[in-house]
C-alpha cells in the first residue's frame, strides 16, 4: 500500500467534503468486513447493512418510482423512475400514481430513457439501495425522462455473465414497452449508464446490442470498472490513498470472473490481449467520466483510447480532483459538472 495509513486518511480528507468522506469511508470499512479472505462474501451482513428505500408512486420532488419484475425465473426486478406532471395546486398531483402503462411518454417530444446499472463492484448494493435511489431520482429530474434502474444479479453468487444477461434482458424489455415510446416517429430513446461495475455492464450490453442491431443512443460510464493483469501506474501510485486498494479490486474481479480466469478476461480488459475489435461496430457514442483520484483511471483511459482507435465517438470527462463516489452527494463542483455533461449528452 502506498504510504502509511495515516497519510492516506489525511490525503483523502483533503480532497473531499466531510459528508463525502464519512459516507465513502463508512462503505469502505464496512465492505472490508464483508469480503472474506477465502473469496466468499458475507451476504447476510451486507444485506443487513445496506440501507434500502421502498419505491414510491407519490411524487417527491417531481419524481415517482415503482418496481417491476421482468423475469420471475431470475427474480430480475427494475425500478422505474418517472417525472410527475406538474402540481396543479400545492401538494396535489394530478393523477398521482395512476401509473400510465399504456400511452407513450410523448407523441411530439423525445424523452430519454436511461437504463442505469448501479455500482458496487458487481457485489454490493441494489437498485433499491438508498444511495442509488437518491441518485436515480436526481438523474430523472435532470434529464426530464425515465430512468430504469436494473437490480442485476451480483457476484460471487452469480458470476459473469449473469449481470450482462440481466442488462441485455432489460434493454430488450425497455425497447418493447409502449409506455416508454416518445417522439414523432415513436421509438424508445434508450441510453445506457452506470457507475463502477455498472459502467462495465453498460459497455458489454451496448456491445451486445450493437451486434444484435438493437439501438442504444449513448453510453454514460461513471468511473467504469475495468482492469487487467498488468499493474498500471495509477494503480501503483494511488493504491490505498483514496478509499480504494488494489487488493480490493483484485478480490472483486476474482469474485466476478469465472473461476480460474485472470483479469485479462475480455469482461475486464476490454482492449487487452483477449479483447474484441470494435472497429466498424455500430457502437453508441460514449461519455466516459474518469476521477483523477481513482486508481483504476489508467484502465479507463485505455478504454477511451481503445474506443477512439476503433473509430468510435467518445467524450472523456476527466475530473482531476475527484475521488470515486463524488456523485453521491451534491456537495462538490464535480457533481454539478457531471450533471451538466449528462444533460447535454442526452439532449444532443
Amino acid at each position: 500500500m502506498a504510504g502509511s495509513n495515516e497519510i492516506n486518511v489525511n490525503e483523502a480528507k483533503k480532497v473531499v467534503p466531510l459528508h463525502t468522506w464519512i459516507l465513502i469511508s463508512n462503505f469502505k470499512l464496512a465492505y472490508n468486513m464483508l469480503r472474506r479472505p477465502d473469496g466468499t462474501f458475507n451476504r447476510e451482513l451486507a444485506e443487513f447493512l445496506d440501507r434500502k428505500v421502498v419505491a414510491n408512486t407519490v411524487p417527491v420532488d417531481g419524481v415517482y418510482s415503482f418496481d417491476v419484475i421482468i423475469d420471475r425465473a431470475t427474480g430480475l426486478l427494475n425500478r422505474i423512475y418517472r417525472c410527475a406532471l406538474p402540481e396543479t395546486e400545492p401538494g396535489h398531483h394530478p393523477a398521482a400514481g395512476i401509473l400510465d402503462l399504456e400511452n407513450p411518454l410523448s407523441t411530439t417530444e423525445i424523452v430519454p430513457v436511461v437504463i442505469f446499472f448501479h455500482g458496487g463492484s458487481f457485489t454490493h448494493s441494489s437498485a433499491n439501495s438508498a444511495i442509488y435511489d437518491t441518485f436515480c431520482r436526481r438523474l430523472t429530474g435532470l434529464i426530464k425522462g425515465v430512468v430504469v434502474s436494473v437490480n442485476y444479479r451480483r457476484s460471487p453468487e452469480h458470476r459473469y455473465p449473469c449481470a450482462y444477461e440481466d442488462g441485455w434482458e432489460t434493454l430488450q424489455w425497455v425497447h418493447s414497452r409502449t409506455w416508454l415510446l416518445s417522439g414523432k416517429d415513436p421509438k424508445v430513446h434508450v441510453y445506457l449508464a452506470g457507475d463502477s461495475s455498472g459502467g462495465n455492464i453498460a459497455h458489454h450490453v451496448a456491445f451486445r446490442a450493437a451486434e444484435a442491431g438493437v439501438e442504444v443512443l449513448g453510453n454514460i460510464l461513471l468511473h467504469p470498472l475495468f482492469g487487467g493483469e498488468e499493474r498500471t501506474e495509477s494503480e501503483t501510485k494511488l493504491d490505498g490513498k483514496y478509499f480504494v486498494r488494489v487488493q480490493d479490486r483484485d478480490w472483486y474481479w476474482r469474485a466476478f470472473l469465472p473461476e480460474g480466469e485472470d483479469r485479462d478476461h475480455p469482461a475486464c480488459n476490454i482492449f487487452g490481449p483477449r479483447g474484441v475489435d470494435l472497429k466498424g461496430v455500430k457502437f453508441p457514442k460514449s461519455l466516459v467520466v474518469v476521477a483523477g483520484f481513482d486508481l483504476v483511471q489508467d484502465w479507463q483511459l485505455k478504454y477511451v483510447e481503445g474506443l477512439e482507435n476503433a473509430g468510435q465517438e467518445v467524450k472523456l470527462l476527466f475530473l482531476k480532483k475527484a475521488t470515486i463516489g463524488f456523485y453521491f452527494l451534491p456537495n462538490n463542483e464535480h457533481f454539478y459538472t457531471l450533471m451538466d455533461e449528462i444533460k447535454s449528452f442526452v439532449s444532443s
Binding site: 495515516e6 466531510l18 463508512n26 472490508n32 458475507n42 417527491v60 400514481g97 429530474g141 435532470l142 424489455w173
Partner: protein, 590 residues
Amino acid sequence: MEHLSYVKPLYAPFLCFTHHSFSLYSLSISISPHISTSIHNIFIFSYSYSPSTHPHFYMGPTPYNSSNSSSSACSSSTKPPPPQPPDQMDHLLAGAGYKVRSNDLTQVAERLEHLETVMVKSSPVDISDIGNDAVYYNPTDLASWVDSLLTELNPNVSGSGSGSGSGSGSGFVSGSGPAYVSDPVMNDMNNVYGEFGQQVVTPIEEDVSIRLVHVLMTCAEAVQRGDMSLAGLLIDDLQGLLGRVNSGCGIGKVGSFFVDALSRRVVNSPQNGVVQVDLSAYENEILYHHYYEACPYLKFAHFTANQAILEAFDGQDCVHVIDFNLMQGLQWPALIQALALRPGGPPLLRLTGIGPPSLDGRDSLREIGLKLAELARSVNVRFAFRGVAASRLDDVKPWMLQVSPKEAVAVNSIMQLHKLLGPGGPRGPPVDLVLDWIRDLNPRILMVVEQESNHNQPEFLDRFTESLYYYSTMFDSLDACTAQPEKTLAELYIQREICNVVCCEGSARVERHEPLVRWRERLTGAGFAPLHLGSNAFKQARMLLTLFSAEGYSVEENEGCLTLGWHSRPLIAASAWQAIPKPSVVTTGR
C-alpha cells in the same frame, strides 16, 4: 361489551395429554417448488406515501430543498448547501439512508478514522470474523454503528457515548395512495426470448387487465362520492371483465376479491347491514392455519418474536408471556423448546393467552393450553397457562392477566394492535388505553408485528388503492405456493381482511393497518423505547426463508426493526419495545 373471562390456571405436572403435532419450530413446512408461470402479470411493488404533513421527504420537519432536490441539483451553481441547525439530522446523509446529527458529524468522522487505524492493525481474518460473529444493530444510526465496530475490534476502547443506538427522528405520515396498474408483459416478445415463462397472453387479455384496474379505481371513486348507482353499473362491468381474464392468478385473482368486496359494500352499505359474515371460531382457525402454512408471514412473525422474547428473558427465572391472540398457539412450542435448551436451564414459564370467547361450546383456549402444557412437561419446563376470553382487546383488564411483580413480562401482539385504532369510546382511543396498561405492566419486551401498509386512511379511495397494491403483492407471493387446500384457504383468509378494509366502517372495521413509521410514533409517544432487532435475528430470518423454495421473499432491516416482504415491497414489520417506567410512580404491577 360483555365478555367471558375465566382464569383457571393449568398446571403442567398434573396433566397427561399426548399430541404429536408440534415440531421444533412449530412448523409443518410445505416445500412448494417455485414454478414461474404467471409472468404475464407483472406486479408493481411500491409504497404510496406522501409527505403531506412532513413537507420534506428525507427527514426532519423543515424542508431543506436546496441541495437535496433534483431540481436544484440540475443547476450549475456551485453554491454550498445552506448551514443546517446543528441538532437536526443531516439531510445529505439522510439521502443515503443514514441518520447523523449535524453536530455529530465531526465526531463520527473522527471515530471512522480511528476505526480505520484499528482495522489496519487487525488481520483480514479478524476483520471478516467480526463480520461473521458479532451482532449489530440499526445501521442507520451511523454513530453507534461505528462505535459497535470499534468495540468489536478493540474491546478495551469505550464507545464515544454517542447513544444506545436507538435511532430517532420524525416519521412519515402515509398519505394518499395512488392507483395500481398491472403491466402485463408483451407477449410478442415471448417469441424473441422463448425461455420466458410458459404462459402466452393474448393482447386482448393484456388490455383487459389494464382496463380491469382502471374500472376498479373508477368504481372505488364512485363509492367514495356516494354515487352507488354508478358504482353498481361499474360492478357489472367489472364482473364482465373478470370473466375475460385468467382469474386463477395475478390481477384476475386479486381483482375478483376486490370486485367482490366493492359489490358487498354497494349492496349493503356499511351503515345498514352486515357486509361480512361472521365465521365461527373454528372456521376462523381453519383459515388461519392454512394461511400459516401457505406463506411465511406468520412464521416470520412468530420466529422473530420468539427470538426477541428469548433474549429479553435472558437470566430471568420467572417469565410470563401474554399473547394477545392465542389462536392455535402455533408460536409457543418453539419458545418452550428454546427455553428448555437454555444454558442454565429453563425458567418457570407462564403463558396467558387471550382469545375470543367460544360460542360453540368448545373451549379452545383451554384446549391449546393443555397441549402446550403437555409439550412443556415433555421437555421439563415448568409451565402454567391461563386463558383470557375477550371479544376485543380493549375489554381485557390488566388484573385478569395476574402479572406478578417478580416475573419478567413479555407482551406479544401479532397483528392485533391495529384493531384498536377504531373510534374511541368515552375513555379515549382504545389503543391509547391498552398501551397505557401494557406500560403499567412494565414488560421487558413488547413485541409488535403489524401489516406494513396504511389501510387506515380517512378517505375510502386512498384505503382502497393502497390495499389493492398491498394485497396484490401478497397474492403474488402466494402464487408461488401450490399446496392445496392451503393456498385456497389462505386466500380466503386474506379475502376476509380485504373485505373488512373495503366494506366495513366504524367499529366494524378492525383491519386498520398502519405502517411502521406510524407505530414508531405511537409507541414512542406512549412511553416505549425501541429494542433493536439485530443482525443475528436478521440472519436467522433469512435462513428460515430459504426453507421456502419460493424465492422472492426478502427480509430487510429498518432502523432496528425487521420487515418481511415480497421482492422489494415489505409486507409485514416486526418491532420490539420496552416500557419506559412512568416517572413518579413506583411500578409494582397491579
